[in-house]
Symmetry: C2
Subunit: 318 residues, 2 copies
């Protein structure tokens, strides 16, 4: 097996995960299109189980393990959607999930992960503590580590969202996708370039966490340094496998301000009556900032998830 | 023509309005069902054009006018969803819409109504001023008045939402519906009792605007006195035609606190990732308050709309 997945791996992933994941709808909005002079199609992963596309990759990773690999369970460190996604995927397979979380993680996220039956180990809130705690946990339990994005089967799983969107809608001129660690972006670019070779794949990133943009331009991974953005799902730096795919298949990486992200999120809440998280709004923010041409182009947008803390987010609507 | 519609009028309305209205989806949520021990089906009129079921009734009223009746346009007084609904319905027919609005109506609502091409006449924010201004306007323009709920064709149009839900899902043990003026409730009860004679229709109402509950128990219309609730779509008192239907076809009217309405709205936003307005959350609030039995019952819920002012509503999420 190659170290980096191709589109055939996305196809295999799709067959593997279809019994477990929602085939989410693609929504359009006349009023958003009229406001922006655009022709936009939104793939709604906010309606995915666990509230985010992450469940696709986690399910593919868990379901593609051999019985021997799976027997001691799976493990990861995460304070976000991947932890809940891996917990539910493991539950569906009937194996254990071990999750390392920073002890200051929000109560609501701890409860979600526990609710799916995962075993949580708390650690100090630093990347070093998380990695070291996970290493010890894997050593002790024999669980298989599933990285949130720099993982062959995770990338292949995330590519199924764009594949479904293209199957349901048909051709596109361009597909827009947020980028954090690069799992969704790498998977999306595999599907788009295989099914629609002439379509562009445009990555969209918060200016306050612009490592993908800088890495893309430099031709080498430049990790984030103290990233800061409302799009809390996009704080991570690019993974190696992700970058390899992105370099060869992504056409451009655009950055946007947090102000535009809030405005885009608000537009989708108000006009489309759906809840998306800030990370999901980054591509629409790039359109609001007129960073790309949408006139006379059929544009697909992956809405990555809908997990927001209403207590926090409501402070932005004033 | 009878003064009060029957189910055959709902069927005629459905044929008449289908080219103009969305057939909105019926959504379910495993996590909401698990939390409540229920089997709930949500008819999502928050995804309807104009963001509310009101567009069904307004469209039916406008499209059922003869050419002669329609030639001078239509008129109403409203500060809410009915004004925008009537404006768009008139636009679709190519006739004028005159809307009387209180001069303190929110800017966003004025813009919505103007955006659909209606002509707004502002008046003092009292019911007397609104009715008198409308009377003069109708006298001057010859426009046909379309009452927001106490109107034969409006009631018939609102009944199409429950009809679609039953067509899409099948049988129900009970259908829950919010009640304000009674247009949606009367229409819903016509469809439910015709298609599912053994199913119950339960109306749900804010305790701070409980005229429907008091009227239902007294057997005569008792208007609201200084109603006060977060569910701003339900401040109106029952109409005569509405009450006549409700008396014969509705099984019970339950009241709920504003606290429960906020909790129910929040549950739907967080768990289902859709935006609903407070009025839509009233039936789920009745379930949260354990005012009715949902165990082992298939329960339909009409989500009436999704028009919220995020600046205002966000103050409740803290």
């Amino acid at each position: 097996m190659n170290d980096v997945p191709g589109f055939s791996d996305v196809e295999k992933a799709h067959l593997r995960i279809s019994p477990y994941v929602h085939r989410t709808p693609v929504l359009t909005s006349k009023s958003v299109n009229a406001l922006l002079g655009a022709d936009l199609y939104f793939k709604c992963e906010n309606f995915q189980k666990v509230g985010a596309f992450k469940f696709r990759g986690a399910t593919n990773a868990v379901m593609s393990l051999s019985n021997d690999e799976a027997k001691c369970g799976v493990a990861t460190h995460s304070s976000g959607n991947h932890a809940a996604a891996l917990a539910l995927a493991a539950h569906n397979r009937g194996i254990k999930a071990y999750v390392v979380m920073p002890k200051n993680a929000p109560e609501i996220k701890k409860k979600a992960v526990q609710g799916y039956g995962a075993e949580i180990t708390f650690c100090e809130p630093t990347l070093e503590a998380r990695e070291e705690t996970l290493r010890l946990l894997v050593e002790k339990t024999g669980a298989k580590e599933v990285h949130p994005y720099d993982n062959f089967q995770v990338i292949a799983g995330q590519g199924t969202a764009a594949k479904e969107m293209i199957e349901d809608v048909g051709t596109f001129d361009q597909v827009l996708c947020p980028v954090g660690g690069g799992g969704l972006l790498a998977g999306t670019s595999l599907s788009v370039k295989a099914l629609l070779p002439t379509a562009s794949v445009i990555a969209c990133e918060p200016a306050g966490a612009d490592d993908a943009c800088r890495s893309f331009k430099a031709g080498r991974i430049i990790p984030s340094h103290k990233p800061n953005t409302i799009a809390d799902g996009l704080l991570t730096s690019l993974g190696r496998r992700n970058f390899e795919i992105i370099q060869s298949k992504v056409d451009d990486v655009l950055t946007v301000s947090d102000e535009s992200i809030v405005a885009a999120m608000r537009m989708i809440w108000e006009r489309m009556k759906i809840i998306i998280e800030p990370s999901s709004a980054v591509p629409l923010a790039a359109i609001l900032e007129q960073k790309l041409d949408v006139a006379c182009k059929k544009t697909g947008v992956i809405l990555s998830g809908g997990n927001v803390d209403l207590n926090t987010i409501s402070t932005y609507f004033k």
